[in-house]
């Protein structure tokens, strides 16, 4: 039972972090960032030296953890800000569909850039191997990593909340998310806020990359995609632009996946995802604006 709870929490953590990264950018720019998954993949591959061999040549991955973590976070934030400066800045006035397709095209570029450097074969590495030992808590054997995932997510969420609530920059960002043009008129610098949002979102992508890479031990160019899709759905169920909603929905989706895995009859288990997506449609039917509707996203007449 405890095992299920922890499974749900750790899967939910990944989805919640991903959803947060997408919601942050949507909040300030109304951009649904499809390149997010590829930023995740890029961060994982930042640990390796470029080579097309099947064997992974670990480069940055050999650093001790207190250097490794900031390095990957910086990679993610840097790439994300770069995307903003080079690409998304030109699309501020475009309609959402155009921006969405542009972000998809950008993700495509990142993915094939990785493919060129690393080839499409999955690579196995052991990232921070000491984390996979099991620990015993309240009679359940859990991998230490799962515990760290949950704790790290909690720390990130609390830190982010404090940042958004207590600092001036956080205040500006929340103001921009609520009503962008009004915030600009009141002296919030648009470029700074948007770049800040991209940097945060990139760092969150890097955090997912670290956790996911350590969990699975294999690196694959496609690996960002599956998380991104669930995160993307979580953002919408949570209420687009609402950060709290994104986190809540991320955990709910994780819980739904794990619970269905356990509760469904054996025959129906391969179809688990179909049930999860069915539940998503149901939620949207009853609350099309999301679980926690963000202010300012309501359509005005």
């Amino acid at each position: 039972m405890l095992q299920i709870l922890f499974d749900a929490l750790s899967l939910g953590s990944l989805y919640a972090l991903g959803a947060l990264g997408i919601a942050l950018i949507f909040g300030v720019m109304r951009l649904v960032n499809f390149a997010h998954g590829d930023v995740i993949a890029f961060c994982v591959f930042a640990l390796l030296w470029p080579s097309t061999d099947a064997m992974a040549i670990v480069f940055a991955g050999q650093l001790p953890w207190y250097l490794l973590v900031p390095f990957v976070l910086l990679c993610g934030a840097g790439l994300s800000v770069l995307c903003e400066v080079v690409v998304f800045r030109r699309f501020r006035q475009a309609n959402p569909a155009t921006m969405m397709i542009a972000s998809f095209a950008l993700g495509f570029v990142i993915r094939y850039f990785l493919l060129m450097l690393f080839s499409s074969r999955p690579k196995s590495i052991s990232l921070l191997p000491e984390l996979s030992q099991p620990v015993e808590i309240l009679g359940a054997r859990l991998p230490l990593l799962q515990l760290i995932t949950i704790v790290a997510t909690m720390v990130i969420l609390i830190g982010l909340t404090l940042f958004l609530r207590q600092t001036r920059f956080g205040l500006e960002m929340r103001a921009a998310a609520e009503n962008f043009s009004m915030a600009r008129m009141l002296g919030v610098r648009a470029n700074r806020v948007i770049m800040g949002a991209f940097a945060l979102s990139g760092a969150l992508a890097a955090a997912i990359a670290l956790i996911f890479g350590a969990q699975t031990g294999t690196l694959d160019i496609q690996m960002g995609a599956s998380i991104m899709l669930m995160a993307f759905i979580a953002t919408v169920i949570g209420g687009l632009g609402s950060l709290g909603g994104a986190v809540l929905a991320g955990f709910l989706l994780g819980a739904a996946s794990v619970i269905m895995q356990v509760m469904l009859p054996i025959d129906a288990r391969p179809f688990r995802d179909a049930f999860v997506y069915g539940a998503v449609i149901l939620v949207l039917l009853f609350r099309p604006q999301g679980l926690i509707a963000a202010r300012g996203t309501k359509e005005r007449v």
Binding site: V87, P96, I101, V109, F113, L115, A225, F271, P288
Partner: protein, 363 residues
């Protein structure tokens, strides 16, 4: 006397009404040039292909025509309703598998797909019949899903259609006895002639045109541009969206069936995110507000992809061979798409249709 007076009266009233109301088919006559020109464009491509007579080129052009069907199918819903749908490739998947069920040799079917019902196991239809049935099957699925999904709008609708795509994909990748799960279903008769695909594409274009100028299509476009005003004028938005959803579902199913016949093999993952995004990109790059935009987007992006592939394979310039490293093709495609969208955010065609200059002056 009285009768005659009332007769003249009624004719006068009729004449007045005719003056106020545009003549019948006026809209059709004014807009028919667009589908005709687009069809002529495709016909020209087909004729050039047949004249060169090269096999690989033939296959490429068939792919282009299949994509035209898919993108036109997307346009019918997305372009007219303004709601971005990620789920339409799901209907393509349904159409392709339906075509596979109907056309594979019964002996092979019994071995590879034993879970099919008996009557389906025994049938074997020619490809064009199966394509029509596949389109109807996809339309039925669109009707069922649409009844639920069309109550949503905006980004929630987009995500719900995406969830639908993921559901269809999960079911088709796991239902071993009926869809062969993730392994490919082989033995679909391959049609190598170019004409069926051309006819399919032209039919799709004319369906899109007919829907766009129909009462329902006009109402839907009004609702896209001014939802509140349209709803206040008595337009039932979910209903008009459902009509477009079903029509586009049918066209996507047709495209799926023809796609199955063009490659002869279907797997669930052929009809998933990759195809969704490439078709959506073609629509958006061409301009999602117009039918011409969709068709032009397909033709241009396909030509671009093909040119980059040739470069990747190597082109001999005099003595030396010039070849791009692997992966550059996709990167260049992505970069070019971003540049086009940055320069022309509403797509290459804007929201205009392709017509002759004369007809636009008459407006």
């Amino acid at each position: 006397m009285g009768v005659a007076a009332s007769l003249t009266n009624s004719t006068a009233a009729g004449a007045a009404a005719a003056e106020r109301k545009p003549a019948r088919f006026a809209l059709a006559r004014r807009t028919i040039l667009t589908p005709v020109l687009l069809s002529l464009l495709l016909l020209a491509i087909a004729l050039i292909t047949v004249m060169t007579g090269s096999r690989p080129f033939n296959q490429t052009v068939i792919d282009v025509f299949v994509r035209v069907i898919l993108v036109v199918g997307l346009y019918i819903f997305i372009g007219n309703s303004g709601v971005l749908s990620f789920g339409h490739i799901g209907f393509t998947c349904l159409g392709a598998y339906a075509a596979a069920w109907l056309t594979i040799n019964p002996m092979m079917k019994r071995g590879s797909l034993p879970g099919l019902p008996e009557w389906l196991l025994a049938t074997r239809l020619p490809y064009w019949q199966s394509a029509v049935l596949a389109a109807l099957f996809a339309a039925l699925a669109a009707l069922i899903f649409g009844r639920v999904l069309m109550r949503l709008s905006g980004i929630a609708a987009s995500i719900a259609t995406f969830a639908m795509l993921a559901m269809i994909n999960t079911i088709y990748s796991n239902w071993e006895s009926v869809t062969g799960a993730t392994s490919s279903v082989v033995g679909i008769p391959i049609v190598r002639m170019i004409w069926p695909y051309l006819i399919g594409a032209v039919v799709a274009i004319f369906i899109a045109w007919a829907h766009a100028i129909s009462r329902s299509g006009l109402a839907l476009r009004a609702a896209r541009d001014e939802p509140t005003a349209a709803a206040a004028s008595g337009i039932d938005i979910p209903r008009e969206r459902l009509v477009a959803f079903v029509v586009s579902g049918a066209v996507m199913g047709l495209g799926g069936a023809l796609m199955a016949h063009s490659i002869g093999v279907v797997t669930p993952d052929t009809f998933y995110l990759g195809l969704t995004f490439i078709t959506l990109s073609m629509l958006v790059v061409g301009g999602m507000g117009s039918l011409s935009g969709g068709v032009v987007g397909v033709v241009l992006l396909s030509a671009l992809i093909q040119a980059l592939r040739w470069l990747e394979a190597g082109v001999s310039l005099g003595e030396s061979t010039f070849a791009l490293p692997k992966g550059v093709q996709e990167i260049a495609l992505g970069v070019i798409m971003i540049v086009i969208l940055a320069l022309r955010p509403s797509g290459l065609m804007g929201n205009r249709e392709l017509t002759l200059p004369r007809s636009s002056r008459n407006k």
